[in-house]
C-alpha cells in the first residue's frame, strides 16, 4: 500500500502520513484508530509510545 492510498483511505494528506511515519507528527486518537483499522490490526500493534 502506498502512502497516497493510505492517506485517501483515512482522509488526510500524504504529507501527514509521511510526518507520522517519520515521528514528526503525533496523530489524533481518531486518526490512529482509522490507520489501525485500514491495516486490520489493533492500535497498539501499529503505534507505540516511547518516552524520551
Amino acid at each position: 500500500m502506498t502512502q497516497k492510498e493510505l492517506a485517501l483511505q483515512v482522509g488526510v494528506t500524504r504529507q501527514t502520513i509521511v510526518a507520522v511515519e517519520n515521528c514528526k507528527y503525533s496523530p489524533s486518537l481518531e486518526l490512529a484508530f482509522k490507520i489501525s483499522a485500514v491495516f486490520g490490526k489493533s492500535i497498539e500493534k501499529v503505534f507505540s509510545y516511547e518516552t524520551e
Binding site: K4, A7, L8, G11, V12, T13, R14, Q15, T16, A19, N22, K24, Y25, S26, P27, S28, L31
Partner: protein, 149 residues
C-alpha cells in the same frame, strides 16, 4: 512540493509585494513631509486604509487567479487540497504566534505614542507590527510544514 507549502510561498510573495508597494509609496513617492501638518492624521488614515483594502484586494485577486488556473496547474493533486488535522494544527499554531507578535507591536506602538513619537511614526510602528506578524505566521507555517508539528 505539497500544496500547503506552495500556498505559503505564494503568500510570502504577495506579502513582499504589498508591503514593498506601501513602503515605496509612503517613503519614496509621497515622502515623510506629506504626513506632517494639520492634515497629517487624515493622510495617515488614508495610507493605512489603502494598505489594508489594497492588500486584501490584491490577495483576493491572487486567490481567484490560483483557483482559475489551479485545475490546469495541479492536475492530479486534487487530493492534496484536503485540509486535515495536521494542517489545522499548523494553521492554529502559526496564527497564535502571529497574534502574539501583533499584540506586542500594538503595545510597543502605544508605548511610542506615550513617550512622544509623532503619529506618523506610531502608525508606521503599527504597520511594522502587522508586517512582523505576517512574517511570524508564514515563517511558522514554513517551519512546521517542513518539520512536522
Amino acid at each position: 512540493m505539497p500544496i500547503q507549502l506552495k500556498n505559503t510561498y505564494i503568500h510570502i510573495v504577495t506579502a513582499v509585494l504589498i508591503f514593498g508597494a506601501y513602503s515605496w509609496c509612503v517613503f519614496g513617492l509621497l515622502g515623510v513631509d506629506y504626513f506632517t501638518g494639520p492634515e497629517a492624521l487624515a493622510r495617515i488614515g488614508k495610507a493605512i486604509t489603502t494598505l489594508i483594502v489594497g492588500g486584501y484586494a490584491f490577495e483576493l485577486s491572487i486567490v481567484f487567479g490560483a483557483l482559475l488556473l489551479g485545475p490546469k496547474l495541479l492536475k492530479d493533486m486534487s487530493h492534496d487540497w484536503t485540509l486535515d488535522e495536521r494542517d489545522m494544527k499548523i494553521f492554529y499554531r502559526s496564527i497564535h504566534l502571529s497574534h502574539l507578535v501583533l499584540c506586542a507591536g500594538l503595545f510597543a506602538s502605544m508605548g511610542a505614542l506615550a513617550i512622544g513619537f509623532e503619529p506618523f511614526w506610531v502608525f508606521n510602528f503599527l504597520v511594522l507590527a502587522f508586517l512582523f506578524s505576517v512574517v511570524a505566521e508564514l515563517g511558522a507555517k514554513l517551519y512546521l510544514y517542513q518539520s512536522g508539528t
